[in-house]
Each structure stands twice: as structure tokens, then as C-alpha cells.
Symmetry: C2
Subunit: 338 residues, 2 copies
């Protein structure tokens, strides 16, 4: 394997000069730089990215701190989509991606800053952590550039990408209202997610704009889990048989709501309309297929990586990217009196 | 941030001694080592993994070369499961995971060895590449430890994890034979996958053992794609109305076969039994739910990372791990005369 020592020997210059030429320092003459590059190419030199990272203080690596990479998550392809979107962008710009899993107990022992410093990542994308996660405070206080997905924090080094969740939730509830429903239940995610707060706001705004009173007893906490949502939906539907439609803050929870209706002998959509959020792959395959609010999770990942690079290169015009949603009408919602 | 210089100053030893103590060299006395570690802890020292990688020639990083991390793959949760399984193991043993995507045109310009040398990965796991992929020859010839998923190559530094695909395919076809089917079509994946060759072998063995003649005209190439499988199934079912059951070498292709049957007005399972392979998440959610041969893709990822570490540490008893399959009977298969 060719080293910079070999290049220095052939070029008749010092190792330092070769290093500085290869790393783009301005104190090397153009003539010397050209010579060094020509010889490096002739000798088939493969730069050691780690060593270069130490010299340049850049590793051309993004870290991804993600909580959803585990055995129970394949039903919900959101994490995979985001990862694929990030992967596409980093591939295009020649970066690598290092995964930090917050599932790992070993990594949990380290602070966020330790994690990033040890691996010398240039910046980090954070997905799927709760707003009460101890990492979060550190992220904002650290000087390591960071892009958050679905957590609205910004600083000179922090940005975020999110979906317009208020508007998305409004679209969902308005769709139900347009179908004649007025007794609309809501299965939300847990309170430690920004998206839950936003989707609740959208639910409330849509009802208020339609002059429908908000009934707190029709709102359940499904914890973003299919099982918890099923239990909550059974509780809601048993206690409040007047409910004719349910908005679920995620498709996975909507699957739990469908199960709940089935176990109570309530027909979907004949006796209960259900609308989800996300448009996961399963949404169009379940029976009845699920009406939902689609968000472009692949593109969220792509945009997050793009934003991180622009923050790193000090050329981000805004540190906030907001994505649109789309109503996808399928079989699980129906007009109240048909 | 504490450096080894700070530790050296406080401990009253040289920087070299601190470095050698921290990196486990044997020429440092136990007393000095203990002192260095105590002071490092007191000063809240966070070792720079990159610098340590250069010294130790180990980066505690696995590379993952994967082809299925793209926009079109979330339907098929195999890549995600394998990634999650690998992620679990590397988390447990304190390694990091760097993603090399073979989708990226930039990375394609580099050779496999360049890719690994530049990122100083200790070893690589390769998933989803075709047997005609130019990387493959390099992998085996390189001295970088490597574990392949579903490609049966071994050397002193190469191992592989795969499912018992011959037996799995036999289970599928035997299930159809036990249901009274004799005219059994087969939609296989493309020929550049080892698993296709193995599943074909299993299909043939099951028929031969049951004294059923193999009819080459009943075999189609679905390219592991839902769309290609649909086209092939339409062709097969139109040309050979005598076919009463189809074994599909993947669940994704089986979804295409179900679509084909639907578009031809053939009822599943009443007029056509369909069995898949993989047990992806969708298999149990589609209507009719899909009978299939389940493989534990999460565990395949976990085992691959475990095998790679044992090869790296020169303690692998075998370089081959073979996983079992499980028949999952659902709604898409039915007795011929019922």
C-alpha cells in the first residue's frame, strides 16, 4: 500500500508538504500540488480517510442516532424510509454514515458529545428520540452540527426537518367532518413526541373551525404502539358508543383501532370510520385498506442529510425544513349516513 | 477536552507511555498502567477512537455493504430486519456500523478494497449483492475479513450466513403436494442469486421424491420483483391452465402472483393455491393472508455480525452458519378438491 512517505520520496519533497498538498492547504505552490497529485495517482495512492480526518478535522462522516432499528419495528417502515433517504443523499455527496443505536446499553453509558467526538463525525442526524431524552439537551448545548427529525429546536449548529403535523391532522379530521361525522375520537401518540402535540392541535383546530365542541373524554393515549392503541380504542368505544369515527395519530395505532373494532363487533367503515397518519406500506394492504395522511418519510431523510451538509458548510439559508402531507382516501372511512 | 498530554503531565510519565498503557501494550508496568487509567478517569478522558484506530490498526467498526437500502424496498422488510439484527450485535459488543451503499454511483467508482481501507473497517458484512457483482471476486481475494449473507463462499477470512433454502423450498412444495396438488408452477428469483439456485433444487427434489415429473414450462423468472412476477404468473397461468398451485421464491413475488390471479379472474385459494418464501410483514396482512416459508431475517443479521467478530478474533470454529425455516400455513393455500 502506497503511503505519503512514498509520494514524498518520488516527488523529492517533505512528507509535510505532501500531506498539506493532498489536504488542500494554501501554503503549497500550485506547481508542487500538481506534482504531488500526479505522483499520488501514478502510485495508486489510496488516502487513509481516518488519518485525513485527524489532519483536516473532518471525517466526511455523518452519524445517525436512531431509536427505531430493532426487532419490533419492521411493521412500521418509517425508520427504514428515513434511513434510505439519508443513505441516498450521503451516497451522492461522498459521505459515509455511522449508525449510533440508542437501543444499545453500551452506547447509552456515553454522553452524546462523547459518542460524536469518539467517532469524529462531522455532524449528526437524530431520529425517533423522545423530547424527554437526556441526549437532547446535550445536543443543543454541544457545538457538533445536528439535524433533528420531528423535534423543533434550532441554534447556529442545530436544525430540524418535520412534517406540517398541525395541517396534516386538520386534513384528517376535516375529511371525517366532511363525511358527516361529529363524534370524532382521537388516539394520539405519547406526550413526549412533538408530533403528538402538533397533531392534537390540528385535531382541536379542525373541530373548533367546524363549531364542534372538543370532548376530552374522546381522546386516548396510544403510545405509538399497536397494542396500546387497541386497548385505548376498546376503552373509548365501550365508554362512548356515540363515537362514529376515530382519527389515529399513526397508521400502526390505526391497525390497533381496527383490531379493537373487530373484537367489539363494530364494522369498519360501516359503523366506524378510521383514519391514520403516515401512509406506511401496510396501510394499503390491510382490509379494509386504511385512509390516511401520507407523509414522505424517504424525502424527510434526504432533506435532513441535505440540511446537515448545508449547516456544516455554513450555507444554510434556513435551519427548518417543513414537508407537506397528502390525504389518501381508501376504504376505512365512509359517509356517516350511507 | 482532556488529551493524553494532560494525562502524561499529571501522571509524570511520557505521552508514549500513556498511549501504550491505554492501548494495552505489554511493555508498560501494571503499576503505571493502573495509574494512567485512574488519572484518565479522573480527568474525564474520552479516547479519540480514530486516533486509537491508527495506533491499534483496529477501528472497532464493521462495514455493511448493502444493496437494498432504497426507496423501493420498504415493502420487503428483509434488508431492514438484517440491518436491525446486525445493529443489535454491534451495539452489544461496542462496535460501530458504517454503511456502504452499493446504490451510490460515487462509491461504485472505488474498488471494494479501497472502500474498506479508506474507512479502516475491521471487517465487512455483505448483503443483497448478486453473484455476478464485480465486488464479489475482490472480497474473496482481499485479506479484509468478510461475512456474506446468502452467498456460499469461504476462505480463511471469509464466512457466510444463509438459510437452508433447499429444505425450505422442499417444505413449501411438499405442503402443496400434501394438499393434493400435482401441477405446481414455480416463480423463481433471478439466476444471479444463490438462493434461487437452492430453491429450484428444493422444488425439483420435492417433486422427484413424490414421483411427479418436472415440467420446465411451469417455471418462470420473477426477478425477485413484484411486477416481473405478476407478468410471469399471467404468462404461466394463461399458457398452462392445468396449474393448480404456485410456489413463489419470495413473498414479494407471491404478491405479484396474487395480483396476476386476480386480473385473470382466478380465485385464491379456491382455484389456485399460492405459497411464498420469507414471511415478510405484509404476508400476514394481505387478503388472503399468505402461506409461506418463514426465515428469521433479524437473526441472520445478528449471526452474521457475530460470525464476523469471531473471524476477526481468530476463534471461529466454522465459517458457515445455516438457519432453519418454518412453514407458516395461512389462507392462500387449500386442498385441491375441497
Amino acid at each position: 500500500m502506497t503511503t505519503i512517505k512514498d509520494i514524498a520520496r518520488v516527488a523529492g519533497v517533505s512528507v509535510t508538504t505532501v500531506s498539506r498538498a493532498l489536504n488542500g492547504y494554501s501554503d503549497v505552490s500550485e506547481k508542487t500540488r500538481a506534482k504531488v497529485f500526479r505522483i499520488a495517482k501514478e502510485l495508486n495512492y489510496s488516502p487513509n480517510t481516518l488519518a485525513r480526518g485527524l489532519v483536516m478535522n473532518k471525517s466526511k462522516t455523518f452519524g445517525l442516532l436512531v431509536s427505531g432499528l430493532n426487532e419490533s419495528s419492521p411493521k412500521d417502515n418509517i425508520t427504514f424510509d428515513i434511513l434510505s433517504g439519508i443513505n441516498k443523499f450521503v451516497g451522492e455527496c461522498g459521505y459515509d454514515l455511522v449508525l449510533f443505536s440508542t437501543n444499545s446499553t453500551k452506547q447509552r453509558e456515553k454522553t452524546y458529545t462523547q459518542l460524536c467526538r469518539e467517532r469524529r463525525v462531522d455532524g449528526v442526524i437524530i431520529q425517533g428520540i423522545r423530547t424527554d431524552d437526556p441526549y437532547l439537551k446535550e445536543v443543543v448545548e454541544s457545538d457538533i452540527p445536528c439535524v433533528l427529525i420531528d423535534i423543533p429546536l434550532t441554534s447556529s449548529t442545530v436544525g430540524y426537518v418535520t412534517t406540517d403535523n398541525v395541517l396534516g391532522a386538520k386534513k384528517a379530521v376535516k375529511h371525517l367532518i366532511q363525511l358527516g361525522h361529529r363524534n370524532i375520537g382521537f388516539i394520539n401518540g405519547h406526550e413526549f413526541a412533538f408530533v403528538s402535540q402538533e397533531r392534537l392541535k390540528g385535531y382541536e383546530e379542525a373541530l373548533t373551525e367546524a363549531n364542534i365542541e372538543i370532548n376530552r373524554e374522546w381522546i386516548g393515549n396510544g403510545e405509538f404502539s399497536e397494542e396500546a392503541a387497541e386497548i385505548q380504542a376498546i376503552r373509548l368505544l365501550e365508554a362512548h358508543p356515540e363515537i362514529t369515527a376515530i382519527f389515529s395519530a399513526s397508521d400502526l395505532m390505526a391497525l390497533g383501532v381496527i383490531k379493537a373494532a373487530r373484537s367489539l363487533g363494530i364494522k369498519v367503515p360501516d359503523n366506524l370510520s378510521i383514519i391514520g397518519f403516515d401512509d406506511i406500506v401496510l396501510a394499503s394492504y390491510v382490509t379494509p385498506s386504511l385512509t390516511t395522511i401520507g407523509q414522505d418519510t424517504f424525502q424527510i431523510g434526504y432533506e435532513a442529510a441535505q440540511l446537515l451538509l448545508s449547516i456544516l458548510e455554513n450555507r444554510a439559508e434556513s435551519h427548518i425544513v417543513t414537508m407537506e402531507t397528502k390525504l389518501k382516501v381508501r376504504e376505512s372511512t365512509k359517509h356517516l349516513n350511507e
